[in-house]
């Protein structure tokens, strides 16, 4: 268990961008009418925003970052670090963060690198940036987090296609002597096949067979280049591993659920998230959802939910929050921190 108390950093602003294109799950022809009703009731996902063919995660993050930097009036020359967390980078190489350093007109003195994580990625990204800022040498950073998951799911796979939406986010982080965040993070590679794209890496290079559409079951056909997700295993992992992680963090920070204004979970699906919420005894009012209109937006879901559901609160008052991400890897983590009158932009449609 990786428990860390990282001092001298704070979040100064958050922005999230989604594609303008909206797809309604009620229009998804692979499901029967009753299946659609059950899907929407179970997952809470009615619609999602889906990228156009040439629209990438970095395009969405770039828009979010530009709007956020303008609103914060940060001098771009002052940004020392840019970290891009995603599982849908622009290229195999170079790192997308370096491309974004140039597109955002940041200084070449800026450190830039990618982190390949999904649903836990926001919390992990915060821990990395916070650790680097905490030392005091770097003063300002951008954490760019998101995924265009629609490009990795098969239209003919009812177990993945209706779930995932696309989004890119930007979080501005800076050195601050009076602020800190407490993290608890874990990993279990024994579950690496629970959520996986089998082909396209070095282990299984792209071949002619990678493009074969295979029928796995009723309503589930996909290629080895498409995302594969074992729903029962994901559920089992999430509801059995996430609550103990958070209970340890609560104990270590000597806090109780009622001490937090908000408990912002990765937006996986409503059934799973509600089970976790009830186990931890957070109230419905403490646990915002953005699933209905945006679906599961992978690593972007926590900052997107803050922007879509909490912007009025976090811009005007100090809000003590507990953020928690969990998923592909398997990987999970949580952080407690204060969002004290931060800049939080409304969702940007691109």
């Amino acid at each position: 268990m990786a428990l860390m108390d990282i001092r001298n950093w704070k979040i100064s602003g958050i922005a999230a961008a989604v594609p303008r294109n909206v797809i309604e799950n009620s229009d998804y022809s692979v499901l029967s009418a009753l299946e659609k009703k059950l899907l929407i009731k179970t997952t809470g996902i009615e619609r999602k925003h889906v990228a156009e063919k040439n629209q990438t995660t970095s395009d969405l993050c770039e828009v979010a970052a530009n709007k956020l930097l303008d609103r914060l009036s940060w001098n771009r020359e002052d940004i020392d670090l840019i970290v891009f967390v995603s599982q849908s980078p622009d290229y195999y190489l170079p790192a997308t963060a370096i491309i974004l350093q140039n597109k955002l007109n940041l200084s070449s003195n800026c450190l830039a690198f990618d982190v390949g994580l999904g649903c836990s990625g926001y919390v992990y990204g915060l821990s990395i940036v916070a650790s680097m800022i905490s030392a005091g040498h770097l003063k300002k950073a951008l954490l760019l987090v998101g995924d265009v998951s629609s490009s990795t799911v098969s239209l003919f796979d009812k177990s993945t296609y209706p779930l995932f939406g696309d989004a890119g986010t930007a979080t501005a982080i800076e050195f601050s002597e009076n602020s800190s965040g407490q993290f608890n993070m874990m990993s279990d590679g024994g579950g690496f096949e629970t959520i996986i794209i089998r082909d396209g890496g070095i282990r299984n290079k792209v071949s002619k067979e990678s493009f074969d559409l295979k029928e796995i079951g009723e309503g589930i056909s996909r290629r080895d280049l498409d995302l594969e997700l074992d729903g029962l295993e994901v559920y089992s992992f999430s509801v059995s591993k996430v609550p103990p992680l958070i209970k340890v963090l609560l104990k270590e920070t000597n806090t109780m659920p009622e001490d937090y204004h908000y408990f912002v979970m990765h937006q996986a699906n409503r059934l799973m998230n509600e089970t976790i919420r009830k186990k931890l005894k957070f109230t419905k009012e403490q646990s915002p959802y953005s699933l209905k209109d945006y679906g599961n937006t992978s690593s972007a879901s926590i900052p997107l939910t803050i922007c879509s559901e909490l912007s009025g609160k976090v811009e005007t008052e100090n809000q003590k929050v507990l953020l928690c991400g969990f998923g592909v890897g398997l990987s999970w983590g949580a952080v407690t921190l204060n969002l004290d009158k931060i800049t939080c932009l409304p969702i940007i449609e691109v």
Binding site: L38, T42, S240, M272
Partner: protein, 78 residues
């Protein structure tokens, strides 16, 4: 815990959308016309919430009837 109460909870979970009136203790629920993998998730969540028992995916996959699920819950609870 009464097995009939458990059966009633499963019927209640789905009867808004499906005809679950004929579902018996020894019927294979996975052979029901309306069954899908999403129903398995819903049942796991129901058991977790109502009985504080978290079934492993392999256990859910191997249990086919309400009676088998009920036996599993009792075995886990000891």
């Amino acid at each position: 815990m009464e097995i009939e109460v458990f059966l009633g909870k499963i019927k209640a979970e789905f009867n808004e959308d499906y005809d679950t009136g004929d579902l018996g203790l020894d019927d294979n629920i996975k052979n029901m016309e309306w069954w899908s993998s999403m129903h398995a998730l819903v049942i796991i969540a129901l058991i977790d919430t109502e009985y504080d028992v978290m079934l492993e995916p392999s256990q859910m996959k191997s249990a086919n009837t309400v009676r088998e699920l009920f036996t599993l819950i009792n075995n886990i609870k000891g």
